[in-house]
Symmetry: C2
Subunit: 412 residues, 2 copies
């Protein structure tokens, strides 16, 4: 994979120019894209800045994020050739840091669950996950050092885990979702894909303008969470979590078992109600005027979603509000720095009919707390573990991810 920090180190040492770094990225794309199919549009004549802390870094932009220089097609024929006027603020920010928004990456239609054409470079014959399929696959294939995704259910953490890369879903609204096609305004969260936790922390600190996110924390106190608020994970995923525990303990990590109260089963259910009610509104124009052009899973979803009553939605919002406060209190009283749990139910499912299951991500998206997935070393298709921190404590989530990444590298 292409390491953002390695590229930047060479650029800062003067052994690589930003322009050369972009050429190298484009060469990697030319080599791997025919088999991976991660991109829907690429800038043939990118403007490469010589300055800025991300100069020379090519970034993939999920194709529901507005770009002024490339079409934004939402993974849907309804937006075929659609050219926004403005860059989304996240894209303007990347440019300001010197990065090059080089390509638009595939997304499931409107970031729901109808699969894309993208292949998983690390697990032949298996889905790359979704909805941020192209961003995860592009980083996994070594075509890009950094890519943007969004998560409403599990659309960053799940494809990152399936493709064996690092994925970060920051605290809700740490990064602005302005100019990003909305599915659910209470849930939609911008996130990053990178080759390592250190890369991701460096990029997120710069993009968010919060240097503390790239800091080094103390050895984290970890709560090991085997989720019981929904259907259990597969043995593969639970074994990876246990390997992660053993390696973290060997590196000096303080690990205790942690369980969520039953209240969080209701919060888990509330996610679907909130997402579905809001998606029916967010995509009202598309549904009312282009229903037949929607892909089948999304069309069926909206057929049902639009029947949810406002009172049901309001009740779900109250459940979510209460659960957010409970989680905050529980974590504060626990003296834990992070929770460690599975990133997905198992390895990427075989075939391309499904993008996999987001059930171990939805609750955390609803809670708005920062989540990071990092790969767990092992044979076969990738598996990840998920680090969860308190709302607003993205710095601790990332420093814990870096600690675990180092621990895994030493022990494996």
């Amino acid at each position: 994979m292409l390491s953002l920090l390695s590229l930047r180190a060479r650029i800062e040492a003067g052994t690589l120019t930003p322009a050369q770094a972009i050429v190298r990225t484009r060469d990697a794309i030319a080599e791997h894209e025919p088999s991976v199919r991660a991109f829907v549009a690429t800038d043939a004549t990118p403007q490469v800045s010589d300055t800025g802390p991300l100069a020379g870094i090519a970034v993939g932009i999920k194709d529901i994020i507005d770009t002024a220089h490339l079409p934004t097609q939402m993974g849907s024929s309804i937006y075929a050739g659609w050219q926004p006027r403005a860059d989304a603020p996240i894209v303007a920010r990347l440019k300001r840091l010197g990065a090059v928004p080089l390509a638009k990456t595939t997304t499931t239609a409107f970031a729901f669950v109808d699969p894309t054409e993208t292949r998983n470079p690390r697990a032949p014959g298996r889905t790359p996950g979704g909805s941020s399929a192209g961003s995860a696959a592009a980083v996994a294939a070594g075509m890009l050092p950094l890519a943007l995704g969004t998560q409403t259910g599990g659309s960053v953490i799940r494809p990152a885990a399936f493709c064996g890369v690092v994925g970060v879903k920051p605290s809700f609204r740490l990064l602005p979702t302005v100019g990003v096609k909305c599915f659910s305004w209470t849930l939609d969260t911008l996130g990053l894909f990178a080759a390592s936790a250190a890369d991701a922390a460096h990029a997120l600190a710069l993009i968010a303008g919060r240097p503390e996110i790239d800091g080094t924390g103390p050895i984290p106190r970890i709560g090991l969470l085997v989720p019981e608020y929904c259907e259990a994970a597969e043995p593969d995923a639970l074994q990876a979590l246990d390997r992660a525990r053993v390696m973290a303990e060997a590196a000096g990590g303080d690990i205790r078992d942690f369980a969520l109260p039953d209240e969080f089963r209701h919060a888990f259910d509330a996610h679907a109600t909130i997402q579905d009610f809001e998606s029916a509104q967010a995509l009202a124009w598309e549904y009312e005027t282009h229903r037949d052009s929607l892909p089948p899973l999304l069309r069926g979803h909206l057929d049902t979603a639009r029947t949810i009553e406002a009172a049901t939605y309001d009740a779900a919002r109250r459940v979510a509000h209460h659960a957010r406060r409970s989680l905050r209190d529980i974590l504060r009283d626990s003296d834990l720095d992070i929770l460690l749990t599975v990133s997905a139910p198992g390895r990427a499912p075989e075939g391309y009919a499904s993008t996999g299951d987001s059930r171990f991500n939805r609750l955390w998206t609803l809670m708005g707390v920062p989540c990071v997935t990092i790969p767990v070393p092992g044979e076969g298709a990738p598996l990840g573990v998920q680090i969860i921190a308190r709302f607003g404590d993205d710095a601790r989530a990332l420093s814990a991810a870096k600690f675990l990444e180092k621990a895994f590298a030493k022990q494996s």
Copy 2:
């Protein structure tokens, strides 16, 4: 003015068709628009639905709200001729209810404070206010029975008060801001302008899909708030508030004095920090690529806004979060149904150099609570009083507004 309920009553009685109602509206526009200048685009061949509870109702759409059939120009040359692909969900919803989104109304550039060309039909020589200038003026001039605006500081309540119409800023996110140009994602709130509180309640209940908003509540228990958290209002505004108190008491209203704790001075200050920090991000592309095309007040604002540190913003968000909880607890413990206060510092300022001052609106926008302004009968340029209810209690805000509207009509 054009009353939505009167038009609907005639349509339901069969004495007016929806198409005739739209013709009547268009005639009113032809008569008044040359002097008011409330519109930037009008649909010359509107599709008029024969069915739906808002059939025959022409609606003005503030020109930062996306429409698939009319350009959306943000009050700025940067978006001259810009044609969005989709309707914002709020526009799709209006169409689904049978309403006709007939025209785009003037907005200050990106809904900030650089004045528009719109004139105040009820106060010659005075600003109509802003940023939703065209929507307020169009309803005031009797050109439309309903119009959409947005409020980040005081952009619905202030122009409604200045133009002598009813304005509603509902609870935060009661109406989806998807497809609405963002200034501050924590604050931007969709609202309505109408000829009466009864009209506004009827429309909001339908648009939000919450029939209880059009209900009749008991006689409200009212807390009279003479604001002390910022610079005092002018004598005219305070006298109007006192007249409102007297008329409400004569109608049987239970009115007590109410004061906010000092904490809310900090919350008042937090509004500016949050708005400014977010606006610098939301308008990053416009600032980075078209700074010279921005109008002078917005350009100067963004020059300063972009220097705010993330830590300052985070501190302001914590202040706001705490104040929202305090307000909830205070209102719960008070046994009050609503607060009654001034809508603006005074009458619309003379001249067109300023859109007026939002200082009696910003705190409530930050609190996310429903606000309604209704005109207080009297001589000269219009004055309004503002009704404030608890978060999510839009029904009580509107039923209290209807009570006061009746009380004012009886007593004046």
